[in-house]
Symmetry: C2
Subunit: 347 residues, 2 copies
């Protein structure tokens, strides 16, 4: 690594895996594009949805997977068990699918308290029940003390895609409105606050929740959804950049319209974080024709978890800058894809 | 733990996770039965196949998951990448399914060489190609140095179950013949030899391979397969005990008919291991009516990887002992479910 080591916390090029490779930013995107996608090259993977769409005997399925390595295992508003269910349910929902079945693979570190395992597995069961999904298959591995971190969970999920539901960056159009289903950055700040032992006046609680009913609410309202994403690692900033890059269009968002809770904003200011890059685990970003934005907003706000929905911006024709933020001061700021991550291991 | 600590390496009851909880033996079965199955209670999970059978819009799917934590990442005859593909393909095949799609979730430890990651991902691609499956969705997480062990891989798999294929312990009948597709214990010995730096005169090479074409060969030959299993963790001994317990019948196997390579037998003698409990990663155990055993044997032996197939025993009515081994000396030995594991982290 010597020749590339510029004494920078995020190396420009590395010869070994860095924490930033898992951060949801440019370095992770580079790893996926230069190493993983070429290795497994196939159309389903290259579609780069949150899940793969598969035609099995005339039935269209969505199939996705996520591992969860959050530390600590519990945080204000949730735990790794819930996160492992909601994360995969949300990826399915963001492909237009109705989540149905999950797998659950546990990597246990020797020494984990069985009572803690039982509690976290109980949390998975309740989360699955809340989402109407069934955990139908599983696996258990144990690694030696010091080779894990208590518990890692992988879930894979299968959902059914109803007819005529097509969402993805390729359907985003200039003129589309961009909505979020609620305020941003709660999850990352909640995890960080407990990890770093920070005590805020009013503790920030994770937004950790399933979003599939919010998505169904939009479909039920007849919204012609063009794209859906949940802004996890890398937050809203990473999602907007991904969609701009993958659609070839430019996105414009207005700082004054982006909901951020006062506690999150205060914590971010204290910690030197930008809330637009902090992970959510229960929010939806949605693209649709501008004429339907009002109806979409009304549909979201009528649903639990969608009360704080807001129209935050719109899609422009391709331009020199993929994502522009119009600040409260009236200036323009480039909202770039983050390089690495602000917060490691938040999911 | 004090009151249960009998100074035994495998505690009778533990309050924390032990290596034995991942060993494929009684302690792992207890964990699954007492903690995991009750938490997630549902018919698909309780069928206790290697995969769940799901009806989606009239199409029958098999769905399974496995994490791979083998150490070291490479061993004679294979690596973690191949193992992660074959392991899931084999679980699908053991449910009567034709493997179709895999997910791939990587947990990378900070510091893993990217060249090594690329090589192992290439190994996954070749293994997938060999099996005719497509890796359609993935996830990448990074954990801090000292919180992983280079690379853990989770794969989940989806297969299609053709009509009228029903296999499982509930279909096993007294009078069934028991076949294995080749000699046993190679994988565990191969991993152990490199881990412990043992040099045998002729190195033992892992049997790491897909078994789905062996299963298809049996179906194509018109065999009425009652049950299929791949003897991984806990080896043949664990598989026989599982089927005996889950079918409520007794099994009898003949030591002289169970194929074990000379190198594996010698290594096991040296290391104090019983090859009947050592993991395979490319073998099939099959149950079918005794009248079809000859045809099944011929079908297996005609296929690559099935040349060493053998009829090793038969199913008896329920009796006091679930699994009996008739030894080469003419005596009977109880082949019990192992308590913990002989060899940790072999898959």
């Amino acid at each position: 690594m010597a020749e590339f080591n510029l004494q920078c916390p995020v190396p420009l090029r590395a010869e070994t895996v860095q924490m930033a490779h898992g951060g949801g930013g440019r370095i992770m995107r580079d790893l996926i594009e230069s190493l993983l996608l070429p290795a497994f090259a196939n159309p389903a993977l290259e579609a780069r949805h949150d899940a793969a769409l598969l035609d099995l005997g005339g039935t269209e399925l969505a199939f996705t997977t996520d591992s969860f390595v959050v530390t600590p295992l519990r945080f204000p508003g949730g735990d790794i068990g819930e996160l492992a269910v909601y994360g995969t349910v949300n990826d399915l929902a963001c492909c237009g699918a109705r989540p149905r079945y999950l797998s659950c693979a546990l990597i246990l570190e020797e020494g984990l308290a069985l009572a803690e395992l039982e509690a976290l597995v109980g949390s998975m069961r309740r989360a699955a029940g809340r989402c109407g999904v069934v955990i139908v298959t599983g696996d258990t591995k144990v690694v030696d003390r010091g080779r894990g971190d208590g518990l890692y969970i992988n879930t894979a999920g299968i959902g059914l895609v109803p007819d005529r539901r097509r969402v993805g960056p390729e359907r985003v159009r200039a003129g589309d409105a961009i909505l979020v289903s609620g305020d941003l950055g709660r999850h990352g700040v909640a995890v960080l606050s407990v990890r770093e032992g920070l005590a805020f006046e009013s503790p920030v609680v994770s937004d950790c929740a399933p979003v599939h009913l919010l998505a169904e609410g939009l479909w039920d309202a007849g919204i012609d959804l063009h794209c859906l994403r949940d802004p996890t690692r890398g937050g809203l900033g990473a999602v907007l950049n991904e969609i701009a890059l993958d659609s070839g269009l430019a996105l414009e968002v207005r700082e004054q319209d982006i909901p951020v809770a006062a506690g999150v904003a205060a914590a971010c200011e204290l910690l030197g974080l930008d809330p637009l890059y902090v992970a959510c685990e229960g929010r939806l970003v949605a693209w649709m024709p501008e004429a339907q934005a009002g109806a979409a907003l009304a549909a979201l706000r009528a649903l639990p978890g969608g009360e704080g929905a807001a129209v935050i911006g719109r899609v422009l024709p391709a331009g020199p800058v993929p994502v522009v933020l119009r600040t409260v001061l009236g200036t323009e700021r480039v909202l770039d894809l983050p390089t690495g991550e602000q917060l490691p291991r938040i999911c």
